[in-house]
């Protein structure tokens, strides 16, 4: 039982990170029909912004984190939208997919060639120690991740549902034409979702890098996890992506321990295929209207 609780909590912590990434992924899809194949690399790279700032600017960890967030907002939010998404949007989904795949190659190779191809240690945001709950050993890192992720989700939920700005963003996602008629600055709303996505991936990056180390290939797994979480949960609901992320993190961990460590990676994929075939709109999502 103690082992189960341990696995469950660490699965929840990983799942919470997946959820953050999946929420960002889904927001981009909703407001601008962008399927971001570089989302995994977006999570990989903010940690390197921080390491870069520490190494080349010679500053302390926390100021470097601040720089990492700002650089992420500029590059992964603003520039990504302006330079790649905006000009591509009229060409449809497939060229955008190709373009973001190219972007993911670009980001990976930049880190590999200009920083390091080795896994880099990344300082934890809080000191790591273990807590003992009825025989189950749980690291403070995991608790910290769960708390931060929950706070983020609550804050995001408040922003989207509780404020005028969030309502405007939702209107933009649901029907840009009508939103524009109602006087909502649609373009700016879309930009905000890109900035939110950049903030979410930066946060996920800082949470996950202390555990898995910062490496240029990290994005491969994380990107796939974000897709799966978004689809399993339902592509059109924030809470769907959160549930998807948590379900994914926990099943992955439990499957590795109780079914097969070698096929750890296969369980989420089978889950994905089953969900797509059985409920294409996800566990929590609404059916998307089919356009003819």
């Amino acid at each position: 039982m103690a082992a189960f609780i341990q696995l469950f909590v660490s699965g929840l912590a990983t799942g919470a990170i997946y959820a953050l990434v999946a929420v960002g992924f889904m927001l981009l899809w909703q407001t601008s029909q962008t399927i971001n194949f570089a989302q995994g690399e977006f999570v990989m790279i903010p940690a390197f912004f921080v390491l870069w700032a520490i190494r080349f600017l010679g500053i302390d960890f926390w100021p470097a984190v601040g720089i990492g967030v700002i650089v992420s907002l500029i590059i992964l939010g603003f520039l990504f939208k302006r330079m790649i998404v905006d000009p591509m949007i009229k060409h449809g989904v497939l060229p955008m997919v190709i373009s973001t795949i190219a972007l993911s190659i670009f980001l990976k190779e930049m880190v590999k060639d200009f920083y390091s191809s080795q896994a880099q240690p990344f300082p934890g945001l809080i000191p790591s120690s273990d807590l003992n709950f009825f025989g189950a050993v749980i690291s403070t890192q995991n608790i910290f991740i769960l708390i931060i992720a929950s706070l983020t989700v609550v804050a995001l939920n408040f922003l989207l549902n509780g404020t005028r700005l969030g309502r405007a963003m939702q209107a933009t996602a649901q029907n840009p034409t009508v939103a524009r008629i109602l006087g909502i600055p649609v373009e700016r709303m879309i930009l905000y979702t890109f900035l939110i996505n950049a903030a979410l991936v930066a946060l996920a990056s800082f949470l996950i890098s202390p555990i898995y180390l910062a490496k240029f290939t990290n994005g491969d797994v994380l990107g796939l996890a974000a897709f799966i979480a978004a689809i399993v949960g339902g592509f059109n609901q924030v809470r769907g992506a959160i549930v998807g992320g948590l379900v994914l993190g926990v099943t992955e961990n439990l499957a590795a321990a109780y079914i097969s460590a070698q096929y750890r990676g296969a369980i989420p994929l089978i889950l994905l295929i089953v969900v797509i075939l059985w409920r294409p709109h996800g566990l929590m999502g609404r059916a998307e209207e089919r356009t003819v």
Binding site: I105, F106, L277, V292
Partner: protein, 336 residues
């Protein structure tokens, strides 16, 4: 000039020129050069298959690399067990045809990004099977010393002989794809891509053609794998992981989806160019990624589309020049 470039005569001349280059390649290239050209041909076949599924029938597949892998493993294991290559070749294609057919079923239910993710998941599952089922695939150690075929007493073991063998098989496969594209099948695929509802109302059995598009594209991927195995002679599961599928997707779109020669050009940018641009060294992929992004920005129809645009631009320029000339003549005549 442009008229000449687009004339039938020039096209035939150009095709003959490329054919001559390929046939005489062994006489001016070393073994490594031949290996690269053979690799380009094999990857082109895999891209041709994906082009059938994606470019013509419009079904997004991110699993073509997995089919190349399945084909390579089937051929590798069978020829290592002493089965003649042609039999192994057909088995590779057949198995991929069947698996591709089954993979097509999700496409009947879901489209676009969902389909992309189902095929992506399938691709990763195949990779995991190759890596973990050691009793069959030898896991991460891979298959070594895959024999090169002996056909009717012709031993293709040496680079020189094997090159001609690959060239011959690839030519036959390309002609086969060319024929499919021009047949009613190919037309039905395009109808499926352009407007599935209308295709259905015109009596095209969209269900069957969707499955068929997947099965055929996958079978051609399997054939590519059957050539890949004796070409490299050593391979392991990592060669067929997700990056290969994504790269094949890039090749098709960069070359020009839905055009016959697009996949060849796309494969050349991924296989041949990096070798010729040795100066760029490790930075090649960075440059490649930037070029792809810029290409998608200005010309989402790929390099073939770029060529078309270039030609039509000049043609238009000439036509408007002629028109201006004519108008001038007319006004002069009126002046008289």
């Amino acid at each position: 000039m442009i008229d000449f470039l687009t004339s039938r005569g020039f096209k035939i001349f150009f095709a003959l020129f490329i054919a001559a280059l390929l046939i005489t390649a062994p006489f001016y290239l070393r073994n490594f050069g031949l290996y690269l050209i053979a690799m380009w041909l094999v990857i082109s076949v895999a891209a041709l298959g994906l082009n059938l599924t994606l470019g013509y029938a419009g079904q997004v597949s991110m699993a073509q690399g997995a089919f190349v892998g399945i084909g390579a493993y089937v051929t590798g294991l069978m020829t290592l067990a002493g089965v003649p290559w042609p039999v192994a070749f057909l088995c590779s294609g057949l198995l991929c045809f069947v698996i591709g057919w089954v993979l097509g079923y999700p496409a009947l239910r879901v489209q676009h990004h969902y389909l992309a993710f189902v095929t992506l998941a399938f691709s990763t599952l195949v990779f995991l099977l190759m890596r973990n089922e050691e009793w069959l695939t030898k896991g991460i150690y891979g298959l070594t010393d895959v024999p090169r075929p002996i056909l009717f007493g012709w031993n293709t073991g040496k680079a020189f002989d094997f090159y001609f063998f690959v060239l011959g098989v690839v030519t036959l496969l390309s002609l086969g794809v060319w024929w499919i594209i021009r047949s009613p099948w190919g037309r039905a695929f395009v109808a499926l891509r352009e407007n599935p509802v209308r295709a259905l109302s015109l009596g095209v059995d969209t269900r069957r053609y969707t499955l068929m598009a997947f099965a055929m594209g996958s079978a051609i991927g399997g054939f590519a794998g059957a050539l890949y195995a004796p070409l490299v002679q050593f391979f392991e599961p990592n060669s067929f992981a997700l990056p290969l599928s994504l790269n094949l997707l890039l090749m098709v779109i960069v070359g020009g989806g839905g055009t016959f020669f697009g996949p060849f050009i796309g494969a050349a940018t991924a296989v041949l160019l990096p070798e010729w641009l040795r100066i760029a060294q490790g930075y090649y992929l960075i440059i490649y990624a930037i070029v792809v992004m810029v290409l998608m920005l200005f010309c989402p129809t790929g390099i073939m589309g770029l060529g078309d645009r270039f030609i039509s631009h000049f043609r238009q320029k000439r036509i408007s020049a002629e028109r201006a000339e004519k108008a001038k003549d007319m006004s002069q005549q009126e002046g008289k």
